[in-house]
């Protein structure tokens, strides 16, 4: 808690700007009406870009002899970008093969993605919330040396608990309108954390590989989910879970005024808070440092007096909790239902993809999640042309495969950077790289 306060104190400029922006989001649309929405969004974007530009400027001033090729973060980011380009190129070629006439229009639809209009922008944010959170879950575990392939199971358990509370605990809404929703997401988070603790405990005390354990637990969660739905909250008329009470659905906090006609809700606020908390834990606290140390070298961490076993379990609990929260936000929406069919929820695997693209850093995951959401919207609009939306999943899979070849890509990037620096050095002092990608890089440090 102290560390979080310290962090806020140190970064008071950033925080006061964000608070102002949030106030703008919540208050202005009600005061000014829907016409102001575009202006507000534009000003948020402008302030955001300005803030990162300022950060980049500060970084440049503090590190005058910064060399792009020596920054692993920058090299990693460029590797991700190349992976993304590879995936998009693959998609484009596939579209060319299937229907050459519309390939170019279709491809630009994908690129345009969620940025088509305000409504699709809101939908993009809405769809990306559970993805950002599962991405965060996988990323957090990954940073602490664990591969949480079980996000899917933790998400399923969280979703069930949230929907159960949403269906049965309607009385909470009489105490305070928000209490019902808050209780649902809180207990879902706890349930996800407990489910995540199982592979953590097995890893810490029985030396069981967490990948294998969590794959098994994914299937156990899937079947348990089916059994629980059928026995406790079953709606036989539609062969699905009962409708949640309106009070349990995620509130909109006026965001619907900012993004008229879209499905956006408060989920994005929750996601942003989690991004911030995990960012602080991982990068600014001793606790996070210990978790990462255990992940890098369990024996060395033990030698330095850290409790490796406890840290592994805690990492998995946090990771599972975030996945459980993702499940809650995914299903605490009116008109969305859990169904008792034995299929693995794919969001867990998407989380792996997003975590990889985001380089396992919370802020990177936020951007990667939004990118994925944008691609999904692109896939949705792609149906205007003669293509099926699954092409997006293919593109994502190729992106992940390309980023798995990271070593190769990074070598490639390094070579390019070094060459451009040599050229720059020969031409005299000048700006070799610089721009927004670098700002993101510096922000991660």
């Amino acid at each position: 808690m102290n560390a979080i306060l310290n962090y806020v104190k140190k970064n008071y400029i950033g925080f006061s700007v964000s608070v102002l922006l949030l106030l703008q989001v919540f208050l202005l649309p009600t005061l000014l009406g829907e016409e102001a929405a575009g202006g507000i969004l534009f000003s948020i974007a402008a302030v955001g870009i300005g803030y990162f530009g300022y950060k980049a400027y500060l970084f440049r001033k503090q590190n005058p002899d910064f060399k792009a090729a020596e920054s692993t973060t920058l090299v990693n980011i460029l590797g991700s970008v190349i992976a993304i380009l590879t995936g998009l190129l693959f998609g484009f070629v596939l579209m060319l093969i299937i229907n050459p006439n519309q390939a170019i229009d279709g491809f630009f639809t994908i690129l345009e993605g969620g940025f088509r209009n305000i409504e699709s922008l809101g939908d993009m944010i809405y769809f990306s919330v559970p993805l950002i959170l599962t991405g965060l879950s996988v990323a957090f575990a990954f940073r602490t040396g664990l591969f949480n392939i079980g996000a899917s199971g933790q998400l399923t358990i969280g979703a069930f608990v949230a929907v159960y509370i949403g269906v049965r605990w309607g009385a909470l809404a009489d105490i305070h309108p928000l209490l019902h929703w808050l209780a649902a997401i809180l207990f879902a988070t706890i349930a996800g954390g407990l489910w995540g603790a199982i592979p953590g405990l097995l890893k810490a005390y029985r030396n069981v590989n967490e990948v294998v354990a969590s794959i098994m637990l994914n299937y156990v969660a899937m079947y348990i989910n089916t059994v629980l739905i059928r026995n406790f909250i079953y709606n036989p008329d539609f062969a699905r879970a009962l409708d949640i009470k309106p009070s349990a659905a995620s509130p909109t906090f006026n965001l619907d005024l900012l993004f008229p006609d879209s499905s956006i809700n408060a989920g994005i606020i929750v996601a942003l808070i989690v991004v911030l908390i995990l960012h602080i834990i991982l990068n600014k606290t001793t606790f996070g440092y210990e978790l990462k140390a255990v992940g890098l070298n369990r024996d060395a961490a033990k030698y330095a007096g850290m409790n490796a076993k406890r840290n592994i379990v805690i990492s998995m609990i946090i990771s599972g909790a975030v996945a459980g929260l993702a499940g809650a936000l995914l299903f605490l929406v009116q008109g969305k239902h859990l169904t008792p069919v034995n299929t693995i929820l794919t969001e867990g695997f998407t989380g792996i993809a997003i975590s990889l693209l985001g380089l396992s850093s919370p802020i990177g995951v936020l951007l990667a999640g939004l990118f994925y959401g944008s691609l999904q919207q692109g896939g949705y609009f792609l149906q205007l042309y003669d293509y099926k939306p699954e092409i997006i999943d293919i593109i994502i899979a190729v992106i992940i495969y390309a980023s798995a070849l990271g070593l190769f890509l990074q070598k490639f990037v390094l070579k390019g950077l070094k060459a451009s620096e040599m050229r720059a050095a020969r031409q005299g002092p000048g700006d070799a790289t610089g721009d927004t990608t670098e700002a993101e890089g510096s922000d991660d440090k």
Binding site: I149, N231, D393
Partner: protein, 326 residues
């Protein structure tokens, strides 16, 4: 419904169980090859799906022709095998040449396969659905001569599939090859101590490629067997069989004999969950069928928790080979 007698239940359950055991056993053997050579392959699910997809499409194209039903099945199995090899090549390349994280590259393949199958099917099939329906019945009513043997004939040679017998033969060949031949020994050496193997002049990269490609072949074939045996249609899923096969491998402690036992146990649980309504004993218990289906995974977890200390898992599995590292 009248209750079935014990013998009737046996005649009913055993062939179903065998049909489920075969793909599990084969795919688990594939995983065994891959892991013994030092590459963890959790892409089995995706490879099975890809094999099932291409196999089903090819079989559907052949169905209107004059070809015999079992001949089509044979072609389908071969096509599945080739597809599996081709698809697993991607995993081998990433894991062996690029020293990529094997879980990540496998996850990419697992994501790619269903997306690709659904996309291709919806794009090219006439109705725009993701299903590939097979019209013919690939079950062999009764094997000539052998099917007439009392009891044994009823259990093993009636209502079985061509893939059952091919699967058993392949399994035996694969197990003997891995444990009784020079090349099998080399494969196992690469998974235990690749540096020692390298020092004796074995090409680690080639052996590991072989391991992964064999696993791809068996998984691709397993996918077609899955479609032939219980689906009669490909619906962009192999129902988690790839991951279940991984559980079989672990439950079987990386040992072919115990893989048979594990696969039969898992298959039995699957069949029980599907027959709770028919078998009187199970109907009286009145448990949710999912509880039986859950059991293999829980059993695997328990086994992992209690025997991981003396597990026979290959020591170097999952680690990229780096000649410069000791």
């Amino acid at each position: 419904m009248t209750d079935l007698t014990f013998l009737e239940i046996l005649y009913f359950i055993i062939p179903l169980m065998i049909a489920s055991t075969i793909p599990l056993m084969l795919v688990a053997t594939g995983a065994l090859y891959s892991e013994r050579s030092g590459v963890v392959n959790i892409a089995l699910e995706g490879i099975m799906l890809m094999g099932a997809f291409v196999g089903a499409v090819v079989m559907k194209q052949l169905e209107p022709t004059e070809l015999g039903t079992q001949m089509i099945a044979l072609v389908g199995l071969t096509v599945g095998m080739i597809t599996g090899i081709a698809f697993s090549f991607l995993h081998a390349f990433a894991a062996i040449n690029m020293r990529a994280n094997q879980i990540i590259s496998a996850t990419a393949l697992n994501m790619f396969a269903p997306a690709f199958a659904i996309f291709m099917n919806r794009t090219f099939s006439e109705q725009g659905t993701q299903r590939v329906l097979l019209a013919r019945n690939y079950r062999i009513a009764s094997v000539e001569f052998l099917g007439d043997i009392p009891f044994i004939g009823d259990l093993f040679f009636q209502g079985a599939y061509l893939s059952t017998y091919i699967g058993i033969v392949l399994f035996v060949v694969a197990a003997v090859f891995l444990y009784k031949t020079k090349w099998g020994l080399r494969i196992r050496a690469c998974g235990e101590n690749p540096h020692a193997a390298d020092s004796l002049g074995i090409n680690i990269y080639k052996i590991r490629y072989a391991g992964v490609l064999v696993s791809g072949a068996l998984a691709g074939m397993g996918g077609v067997i899955f479609v032939l045996s219980f689906a009669t249609a490909f619906n962009a899923s192999v129902a988690g069989f790839g991951f279940l096969a991984l559980a079989v491998l672990i439950f079987g402690n990386w040992n072919p004999k115990r893989i048979i036992l594990a696969a039969s146990f898992f298959a039995l649980m699957r069949i029980i969950s599907n027959t709770t309504a028919v078998v009187p004993f199970l109907r009286d218990l009145n448990l949710d069928p999912e509880l039986y289906q859950m059991l293999p995974y829980i059993a695997t977890l328990v086994v992992l928790a209690f025997v991981s200390k003396n597990s026979a898992a290959p020591r170097a599995a999952g680690e990229p080979y780096d000649p410069g590292k000791r």
